[in-house]
């Protein structure tokens, strides 16, 4: 009967362990400088060609390096060489770039370098050509191909060819990509590409050694081999990622230039020190916001955002930290986030869409033409079908302007009913502003004086417009209430609550919104196949050029490309094409570009393919022991600048985490007394 006692002892011991700070999630780290960050998802992998999301980019950027990078401390955002040796030489016509590459840069040691017994090989210009070719190889699902598409001479042919080749022939030359010698890269463009330098900072363009791809095959996404400051030490899926200092990292030093403000914030204390400063980066994957926030408060994470539900804990006003945070000596970074949150309408939709007569005419022509072709081929059925469609479009054509006008009014009405201030209050704790147009405040090309006529919450005007659109009080001509479906981008609480809120907003003007719940993948599929009627999304800038936002309305960029609203306006497209070729660096061109932006902005806000919703402020908190932290909206390789004071962290986090023991003792008491009763009865029975 004594058998049960060890287990009781075990329970007791567990409770003792509880006292000894069991809540600390980390093992000891013997004086190493370790950064503790968290990410919300398991990354998709470490293959630069698939670095399409910020999460993967942020990790790939630490291991793989592109030619250029953003200067860490400088504002406005400027580019400095990374693997390139100096800025490129650009020809007069802006179509030829000569880029020299740093000598003596080695890839990290890895078993894939069979020839050198695992020692890393030196980086050459060929590596970039190879990496760019990978980006144009369809077999890699290259999500970043769009950055070169149509620009580098010959790359489109390579892309086309890779679809049918198996395996893709990498020995085939791309006309616009040449290695003049071991360390010189020559890029030739079809047309001027003023954003090329921005693009060359993106992890898509980082150098990948062909040995790694050949050695690991598809598994290369688990075995990154880069030139960067860190290397992947361990990846426990959905649990954590450990990056370690790359011992063969080239010599790079902490920047010593900075503003007075930077100096005041201590950002220049490590000036001139060799990078990376940290020995290790531990990225814990925490899906939910709450636990991550709690870990941050307990001192187990160095940086955190502020979850909307914890706003009151963190802040006492929009700009000041709460006393509790002050007491913990937490630093607040409040910056504009270059993003727009919007509700998009599908312009192909017959209830809310818009079809420009010119576009319609073009479509008719195209249809006739392909009908002709089909007839020549002998496929009369197909031809007939196409003809029929063309006929219908032709019948439609005269009514289009009138219909477009009505539907535009409907969209404008919905934009007016969209209650931005209330959204900001309940979903963003006030840390956002109504978006006026596609370009967020503070961004290149933003006009602070521009006011979107449909961004003010005005139910009365909305109802008026709705009536003009043919839906007085939301009832259509057929006597039926207007019903629209709204596709969610996921099933998280916030997404659903926000969708439900949208439903309420539209209900106020008499429109019924049917919320369709999707997973992210399902949603993407619906976008791709044009099946979404309305949906809410956001766009985060890839690089500091307004083109990045304005391209979202460019006709040829329609689904499956990023123009998921399928907006097409020939006038807008002409303006866009002109604007896209202009550079921000040339003052003359920049001025023209600004003007064009204004015009385009005006067109989209009037046509209203999106309800321009909110633009956010980003709030970041970091603990006092984290050094050299400065948020950067575009840079993906910043961990190398960060550092911590491990002793301070250990001391403070222990201080902050003391469990309350008495409930445990009560529970223990109850359990023990029940066990006592059990043994008492057993003993009594055996007597």
């Amino acid at each position: 009967m004594r058998k049960e006692f060890p287990s009781l002892v075990a329970v007791f011991l567990l409770c003792i362990c509880g006292c000894a700070g069991m809540a600390n999630p980390y093992a000891s780290e013997e004086g190493l400088v370790v950064l503790h960050y968290s990410i919300g998802q398991d990354p998709k992998g470490f293959d630069p060609v698939r670095a399409s999301d910020t999460l993967s980019s942020g990790l790939i950027g630490q291991i793989y390096e592109p030619l250029y990078q953003y200067a860490y401390l400088k504002r406005p955002y400027t580019i400095e060489p990374c693997l390139a040796d100096g800025m490129p030489e650009i020809s007069e016509d802006k179509c030829l770039y000569i880029i020299r590459i740093k000598k003596g840069v080695f890839f990290q040691d890895d078993p894939c370098f069979v020839a050198t017994n695992g020692k890393g090989r030196e980086l050459t210009a060929e590596d970039f050509i190879y990496s760019f070719k990978r980006l144009a190889d369809t077999k890699n699902d290259p999500e970043g191909y769009w950055i070169f598409q149509g620009y580098i001479k010959g790359i489109d042919e390579f892309y086309e060819a890779s679809q049918s080749e198996s395996p893709t022939d990498y020995s085939k030359e791309i006309e616009g990509l040449k290695a003049l010698d071991r360390y010189t890269l020559r890029i030739e463009l079809n047309k001027p590409y003023p954003r090329l330098l921005w693009v060359l900072t993106m992890p898509y363009t980082a150098a990948v050694p062909h040995e790694a791809v050949e050695y690991y095959g598809e598994e290369v996404l688990n075995h990154p081999v880069g030139t960067g400051p860190f290397r992947l030490a361990r990846w426990d899926h959905w649990h954590r990622i450990i990056l370690e200092r790359n011992p063969t990292f080239r010599e790079e030093f902490y920047p010593s230039e900075g503003t007075a403000e930077d100096r005041e914030q201590g950002l220049l204390r490590d000036a001139g020190k060799r990078l990376p400063l940290a020995d290790r980066v531990v990225l814990t994957i925490i899906k939910q916001e709450q636990p991550a926030w709690l870990y941050f408060l307990s001192g187990y994470l160095d940086v955190s955002g502020i979850p909307k539900d914890n706003w009151n804990t963190a802040m006492s006003s929009l700009t000041t930290l709460s006393p509790q945070m002050e007491a913990k000596r937490i630093t607040l970074w409040r910056e504009r986030s270059f993003s727009v949150y919007y509700v998009a309408f599908n312009m192909n939709d017959s209830l809310i869409g818009m079809k420009h007569p010119e576009v319609c005419k073009r479509e008719i022509e195209e249809k006739r033409k392909s009908a002709e072709e089909a007839r020549e081929k002998g496929d009369s059925k197909e031809a007939e079908r196409l003809d029929k469609e063309a006929d219908e479009l032709e019948k439609e054509l005269p009514y289009l302007p009138q219909k477009n006008e009505k539907r535009r009014k409907l969209r404008q009405a919905m934009s007016l009913a969209y209650n931005r201030p209330q959204r900001i209050e309940i979903f963003a704790n006030g840390r956002a502003e109504p978006a006026q147009g596609p370009i967020p405040p503070g961004f290149n090309g933003y006009d602070p004086n521009f006011k979107n006529p449909y961004s003010e919450y005005d139910i009365e005007r909305a109802k008026l417009l709705l009536a003009e659109a043919g839906y007085p009080e939301g009832i259509g001509e057929d006597g039926k209430r207007l019903e629209l479906s709204f596709e969610t981008t996921g099933a998280s609480t916030t997404v659903l609550q926000s969708a439900d809120f949208f439903r309420q907003e539209m209900r106020k003007i008499g429109i019924v919104i049917n919320i369709v719940q999707n997973t992210w993948t399902e949603f993407q599929e619906k976008l791709r196949t044009n099946r979404a009627q309305t949906y809410a999304l956001g766009w985060i800038a890839d690089y500091p050029d307004p083109e990045n936002f304005l391209q979202l309305f460019y006709g040829p960029n329609k689904s499956p490309n990023p123009n998921n609203a399928n907006y097409e306006n020939p006038e807008y497209d002409r303006l866009y094409e002109e604007m896209a070729a202009l550079s921000d660096f040339d003052p003359q061109e920049a001025k023209r570009k600004y003007e064009l932006c204004r015009k385009m902005e005006h067109i989209v806000t009037e046509d209203c393919p999106w309800i321009f919703g909110l633009t956010y402020w980003s709030y970041t908190l970091n603990h006092c022991w984290l050094k050299n932290y400065k948020p950067h909206p575009f840079a993906y390789n910043t961990y190398k600048y960060h550092s911590v004071d491990p002793e301070l962290r250990l001391r403070l986090s222990q201080e902050w985490n003391r469990p309350t023991m008495f409930p445990a003792y009560i529970i223990l008491g109850v359990i023990l007394s029940l066990a006592g009763l059990f043994f008492y009865k057993l003993k009594k029975q055996s007597e």
């Binding site: 539900d309 309940i426 609480t493 659903l496 609550q497 969708a499 719940q517």
Partner: protein, 312 residues
């Protein structure tokens, strides 16, 4: 001392005109003595009434109405997350909607899910169980194979796969729950039919010339019906709990449907707010808890009063 048959009427003198008591009324009688069970039954009844009233749009109609508050400066803002008060006894949710009304509406949703599910799974289970148990042989082999195979597929994944076929939403979740959930009852029914098939009264019915369907559904089925009832009452709990999990996983109630699962799923973040928003979680959980408890107690009492094994 000899008695002619037809003359005697032994020992029944006390109960000449006493109304007949079937096992059912007997069980009901016993059930009535279990005060807890009667109480539970009334609680369930109240829930049902509330659910039906909500469904008919007579109760808690303001569940989807936002409410506003005016602060000292006269600004009107949404009455988001207001704690329980006289006006909103269980507080409000993020959009200022009355939690009490939403929780009441939740009972209607739960009732719908549970009824749909039960109808489907009881129908399948009884039919297949009866066939497998009564006919045996090849039919039994096939049905056993079917439910063994189904039972071996993890239930939740099966549900997910089914909801992908049927589409998301509560009705489909209920249908999927029904399509997946019949295995247990079917197994029980099969065993019961096997047992009863061998009973003499079935042989007697056969000897009277009753056909297989008459025997299966007129003779045997009433003897297994208590199992259906117990399974039905516990199935309710299953459906209510299942809705919560599936809604959490994103397959159940839609964003605007005030189901208990929806409310509980949202509660996770709300609870961690400062100050904590505990009222939606607590209201939905307590509402659910009470009805589940009532069903569990009633199911238990039903088991006790209907199980012929205990009766003998």
């Amino acid at each position: 001392m000899n008695m002619e048959p037809g003359l005697q009427n032994p020992t029944m003198e006390t109960s000449q005109e006493q109304p007949a008591r079937s096992l059912w009324s007997d069980a009901l009688h016993r059930l009535k003595k279990n005060r807890l069970a009667v109480f539970s039954f009334f609680i369930i009844l109240i829930y049902l009434i509330v659910a039906v009233l909500c469904g008919a749009g007579l109760l808690a109609t303001n569940y989807d109405e936002q409410s506003y508050k005016i602060d000292e400066k006269g600004n009107i803002s949404l009455n988001s997350y207001s704690p329980p008060s006289f006006k909103n006894p269980l507080g409000t949710d993020i959009q200022g909607r009355d939690v009490l009304s939403r929780v009441l509406q939740g009972s209607w949703i739960s009732l719908r899910v549970a009824l749909t599910m039960s109808a489907i799974y009881i129908f399948i289970a009884v039919l297949l169980g009866a066939f497998a148990g009564y006919f045996g042989g090849f039919i039994d082999d096939i049905i056993q194979w079917l439910y063994q195979t189904l039972a071996s597929i993890p239930g939740l994944l099966m549900l997910i796969a089914l909801t992908f076929v049927l589409g998301k939403g509560l009705t489909n979740v209920a249908v999927a729950l029904g399509l997946v959930g019949w295995v247990g009852l079917c197994r029980l029914m099969r065993a019961e039919y096997l047992k009863h098939k061998a009973r003499d009264y079935v042989l007697a019915a056969k000897a009277q010339g009753a056909g297989p369907f008459r025997i299966m559904f007129k003779h045997i089925f009433p003897n297994t019906f208590h199992i259906v009832i117990i399974s039905f009452s516990l199935g309710f709990v299953h459906a209510i709990m299942g809705e919560v999990v599936l809604t959490f996983v994103g397959l159940g109630a839609k964003a605007h449907e005030p189901s208990w699962g929806r409310i509980i799923s949202e509660a996770r973040a709300e609870l961690a707010r400062e100050p904590a928003v505990w009222w939606p979680l607590l209201s939905a959980t307590v509402a659910m808890f009470i009805v589940c408890l009532a069903f569990n107690i009633l199911g238990d009492a039903l088991r006790d009063s209907l199980d012929p094994k205990l009766k003998e």
